[in-house]
């Protein structure tokens, strides 16, 4: 057995009762080469020491039902749906939480096992209030599937006739209906362990146990960052996004309204899953047709403002660097990205003192709203009062973001409604449209010119890759392809939680016209090394921020990309359910293939972007007008919440 030190306590913030603790694999003499034999339902398999019975059964193609288990989360072993018989053990064992460390024989469907599973399901149904056909998760509910799998045809232990709890609708993003909660605690583990936010926790004991917030406050009044990762991992309809589809339909039905929708890159890589297709099937152009048939007057690509973000945020970075390196003035570096609204709320709550690092550039969604209600209204002679802007996002936090009081720089609410991928799929179905069979059509002009750089905003590392493509070309005066084959900046790609990359600036070129009013030359950057960081999931963000505070290598960075959700936006809280590492990898593949197919792949080459700087934002990037419309400020919120509504 290896030496244990006092510091071996796992880095996990979930209590040990909600985890399967690691087994020391080197301790058992019965194992040879770290493998151990297991016999499940008479079939033998050799697995690495410490493999769970559930995992071993899956390798053998033996199905064991689960409920509280989730691939992304630590193992709790609390629902007891996955119990199996381990020969020689007095009681049944939770297969998800039982590490195989010696040769064992397992039976997965003895009479006792079948009866126990059926009882567990019956017990869960006895407290699960609500009717399946009046539930957002109808047909995509793990409890419903279990009931079907185990042939539940009556409520053995009854069924609640009255709700116990009122539904918490206080949040712009996440709605909690604890009447449907089955106490699997996936949301708790998501919040405390995956995201390290820790808003949700079990309170009370026994049948009074419920998932609650600090002092049982409404979700809108605690330090929830609205990432919605809990929604994606809830097996039932207990957690759902705040759904504005009725309002969106009403706007579409109103002939006086001009309804414009912008669509982010990730929904198009995910929406096919809502129509029974394989993850990673892109339906971008089919979706454009479907949106028009739903009745949207214009269908735009958020990639346009993603490109605009790169120009604005990149310019801001150059200005910060110039200030720090040439003028030797105090400047907050590294600069942090600002496109993920979950991340923004996270830093506002948890690291408010570091807000000066965050780029003042708005997120692409909010830039788009501001441009629609000013520039677009102007060139199309529309009264912005009659324009309704809808944003199709993979995100629940975008709903909170568009309702921030400061997001009214156009003089109106810049973005009226944030729709999730799931909600749009519902609208499309409601309109009788079979999305996969739609003919393809392009986005509308003038904001339909997509670039590959905009598309990859959907994946972790995408913003950084887009920024590098532009910065290298604008500063070095060379083609990015000279440095990276096919302009694929591989070092910033992939699902590692925290990434770090360096990019030497060997030679500099002339300052391009678009930036000429800001810096005289690039000589001060010659020979410098651009250091960048990337992280996704707020647990990783915390690691990076703590590293910066401790003066570690990320404190030397110039620019760091932060995304609140694991995998980036493609794993957002508004994306189709379920989610898993392989599903997110498939979506990422779809996004990168759309990038490589794009005609224009660099933000600064997007013709619509160049046009808006010559026609509208005439004082250039980070100029007066763009500051008014495209930049914002943040609120240091802290963790100690005052009166209601203070969040």
């Amino acid at each position: 057995m290896t030496q244990k030190a006092a510091s071996t306590k796992s880095a996990s913030r979930a209590p040990a009762s909600q985890r399967a603790l690691a087994i020391d694999a080197s301790s058992d003499s019965q194992t040879i080469g770290g493998l151990v034999s297991v016999t499940i339902d008479g079939r033998e398999l050799k697995v690495p020491m410490g493999t769970s019975i559930l995992e071993a059964a899956r390798q053998l193609g033996i199905h064991i039902p689960t409920l509280c288990h989730h691939e992304d989360l630590c193992v709790a072993g609390v629902c007891r749906v996955c119990v199996v018989e381990v020969e020689g053990q007095r009681t049944l064992q939770a297969s998800c939480a039982y590490p195989i460390t010696s040769p064992i024989r397992v039976n997965t469907h003895t009479r006792a096992v079948r009866q126990a599973r059926r009882h567990v399901i019956d017990l869960l149904l006895s407290t699960h209030y609500g009717d399946c056909y009046a539930c957002v998760r109808n047909n995509n509910c793990e409890l419903q599937s279990l009931a079907k799998e185990y042939g539940v045809d009556f409520f053995r232990f009854g069924h609640p006739k009255e709700p116990r709890y009122s539904t918490d609708q206080s949040s712009h993003s996440v709605i909690r209906d604890m009447n449907k909660c089955v106490l699997c605690r996936r949301c708790v583990r998501t919040c405390i362990d995956l995201q390290e936010v820790g808003v949700l926790e079990a309170t009370g004991r026994s049948a009074e146990t419920k998932i609650s917030t600090f002092m049982d406050r409404p979700l809108g009044e605690v330090i929830c960052i609205n990432c919605g990762q809990c929604i994606n991992r809830c097996p039932t309809g207990a957690l759902r996004a705040n759904d504005p589809t009725d309002e969106v339909w009403a706007a579409i039905d109103d002939p006086t309204k001009h309804v414009v929708i912008q669509t982010a890159p990730s929904p198009r890589a995910g929406i096919a899953e809502c129509f029974g297709m394989e993850p990673g099937t892109p339906l971008t152009l089919e979706m454009n047709t479907a949106l028009r048939r739903c009745g949207f007057d214009k269908v735009f690509d958020t990639n346009f403002t993603a490109d605009l973000t790169i120009i604005e945020e990149g310019t801001e970075l150059i200005l910060r660097l110039y200030k720090a390196l040439v003028k030797k003035e105090a400047t907050a570096l590294p600069q942090f990205t600002s496109c993920s609204p979950g991340w923004i709320k996270y830093i506002e709550h948890f690291y408010p003192e570091m807000l000066p690092h965050v780029s003042s550039a708005k997120s692409p969604q909010q830039m788009f709203g501001a441009i629609i209600k000013t520039y677009y209204a102007q060139i199309n002679n529309l009264n912005p009062e009659n324009i309704v802007t809808v944003a199709l996002m993979p995100c629940s936090a975008k709903k909170f973001e568009c309702n921030r009081p400061e997001m009214c720089d156009s003089g109106y609410k810049d973005v009226d409604y944030g729709l999730t991928t799931r909600e749009l799929a519902k609208m499309i179905s409601e309109a009788g449209i079979d999305l996969p069979k739609m003919p393809k059509s392009d986005f509308d002009d003038p904001f339909g010119k997509e670039t590959g750089s905009g598309v990859i905003f959907g994946a972790t590392g995408g913003v950084m890759e887009a920024a590098i493509r532009t910065v290298v070309e604008l500063v070095c005066g060379i083609k990015i392809e000279n440095l990276f084959d096919h302009a694929d900046v591989i070092p910033v790609r992939g699902f590692d939680g925290v990434k770090y990359a360096e990019l030497p600036i060997a030679k500099v070129g002339p300052v391009p016209a678009i930036l000429a009013h800001l810096v005289p030359d690039w000589k001060w950057l010659e020979g410098a090394t651009l250091k960048v960081g990337i992280c996704h999931g707020t647990a990783n963000a915390k690691k990076v921020l703590e590293d910066i505070k401790a003066g570690g290598k990320f404190s030397e960075c110039h620019f760091i990309e932060f995304m609140a959700c694991p995998g980036g936006c493609l794993g957002g809280g508004g994306q189709p359910i379920p989610t898993s590492p392989s599903i997110r990898a498939a979506r990422a593949k779809a996004i990168y293939s759309e990038d490589s197919r794009s005609e224009v792949r660099k933000s600064h080459e997007n013709p619509a972007v160049l046009e808006i700087y010559s026609n509208f934002l005439k004082d250039g990037p980070c100029g007066h007008l763009s500051h008014k419309l495209l930049h914002t400020h943040y609120t240091p919120r802290g963790k100690y919440i005052g009166s209601a509504g203070g969040i």
């Binding site: 009762s17 939770a94 026994s206 049948a207």
Partner: protein, 406 residues
């Protein structure tokens, strides 16, 4: 304390002798001696103490813990309270021997919140031992044998008597049992090797080291060696704390405490089993009726359905709420009792509830849920005629005594 007791061996053991003998032996020999005595955990589960110690001793770590489980919460159990108040030195000596045996340098007493009044006495005893060099560095001059003991108070949760929930509570978390394996002997408090032993177990350890394993092994039965402290309450003439050899029959015990003529005896507290009069010849021993020491006597006048209800109400209050069978199952069983009271529980549904009880025994995450249906199931098994077929009086009260004679 004025609780009635018979003569406890604890009073006649020479203080300090066990520890003195222990440190003169090798660690392995100390564990061997405890093993030879046949001592099994006195909290109720009956796990061989030396096996637990051996596992913890084999774990390689620069820090290990000895935890004394003083969270005596089982309904009808009050023997640890007497031991802690009258024989605290013996408990601390047992902890010290345990620490020596497994190589632990830290001890923690997890004291039941309701026993806070014992805290001063325990702290004083600890201070005295530090003074005498029985705690601290190089105890009894033994180089490298360092130990200090601290006391932590529980907060009233029954489940924290379960060793992994106790450890969670020590770590500042909700008191909820962990997944096992791994076991605390390998991954316990703060992820480090930890043994959790009951108050009484530790006191016996000190006695065994003082008087020798053979003395202890010579008492009791082959599989249940030694003496056991019982907490006796209920319908008997002389309730109190008693020491008996394991293997004593229920009838013998009842005769000692003035409980002859009882209808049933609840052995092992709420989580134990209800033994009817026809089975009073059974032995209180791990191989027959295992017990943590709680004996509750029910006379002919007691309504067994009320007894079942009382225990289930306790579990509905005390389930930690983590796993489904225990959280929801106990509530369903209690609802079933309410139906039985009204005479409205069909035999079919009663059978269903008993099957649910079996599921709870098999599929719950920890010992609490696994044992919570025991009382209900044994009462249904032995007193079915008493609990079914009840009617409701016109005034709405439970018609005990008006049950059908079927």
């Amino acid at each position: 304390m004025t609780t009635k007791t018979n003569t406890l061996t604890f009073g006649s053991v020479e203080p300090g002798l066990g520890l003195k003998k222990a440190v003169a032996m090798s660690r392995a020999d100390v564990i061997g001696e405890v093993g030879a005595s046949g001592l099994k955990g006195r909290g109720g589960a009956g796990f061989p103490t030396s096996v637990k110690w051996n596992l913890a001793a084999a774990a390689v770590s620069d820090r290990k813990y000895v935890v004394c489980n003083a969270d005596e919460g089982e309904p009808g159990t009050f023997k640890d309270r007497v031991i802690l108040s009258d024989y605290i030195d013996l408990v601390l000596e047992g902890m010290t021997i345990a620490a020596y045996a497994i190589g632990a340098s830290h001890g923690i007493i997890y004291l039941r919140g309701e026993y806070a009044y014992l805290l001063d006495g325990i702290l004083q005893a600890l201070a005295d031992r530090r003074e005498k060099g029985l705690l601290g560095a190089s105890i009894l001059g033994k180089d490298g044998f360092d130990l200090d003991i601290e006391v932590r108070l529980g907060c009233g949760a029954y489940v924290c008597g379960e060793e992994t929930a106790l450890i969670e509570s020590l770590e500042g978390q909700r008191g909820e049992p962990r997944n096992r394996p791994p076991f605390p002997v390998d991954t316990g408090y703060m992820g480090l090797p930890t043994i959790v032993n009951n108050v009484e177990t530790l006191a016996w350890v000190a006695c065994i080291m003082a008087k020798g394993a053979a003395w202890f092994k010579g008492i009791g039965t082959e599989k249940s060696a030694g003496l056991k402290i019982f907490s006796v309450s209920g319908d008997c003439a002389r309730p109190g704390v008693y020491e008996f050899p394991l293997g004593i029959t229920v009838a013998q015990l009842l005769a000692e405490v003035g409980g002859e003529g009882a209808k049933a005896v609840q052995v092992g507290g709420a989580s134990g089993r209800c033994i009817p009069a026809v089975e009073f010849g059974r032995a209180l021993a791990f191989e027959d009726v295992p017990t943590g020491g709680s004996i509750i006597v029910f006379s002919e006048k007691r309504d067994m359905l009320e007894v079942a209800k009382n225990f289930l109400e306790f579990f509905v209050e005390e389930s930690c709420g983590q796993c489904t069978p225990c959280r929801e199952g106990n509530a369903k069983l209690l609802e079933g009792v309410a139906l039985l009271e009204k005479g409205r529980c069909s035999m079919k549904y009663l059978k269903e509830l008993c099957a649910l009880g079996e599921t709870m025994q098999l599929a719950s995450k920890c010992g609490l849920g696994q044992s919570s249906p025991n009382a209900f199931l044994s009462i249904v098994a032995h007193f079915k005629n008493e609990i079914v077929g009840r009617t409701v009086r016109s005034n709405g009260h439970n018609g005990h005594g008006e049950r059908s004679q079927s």
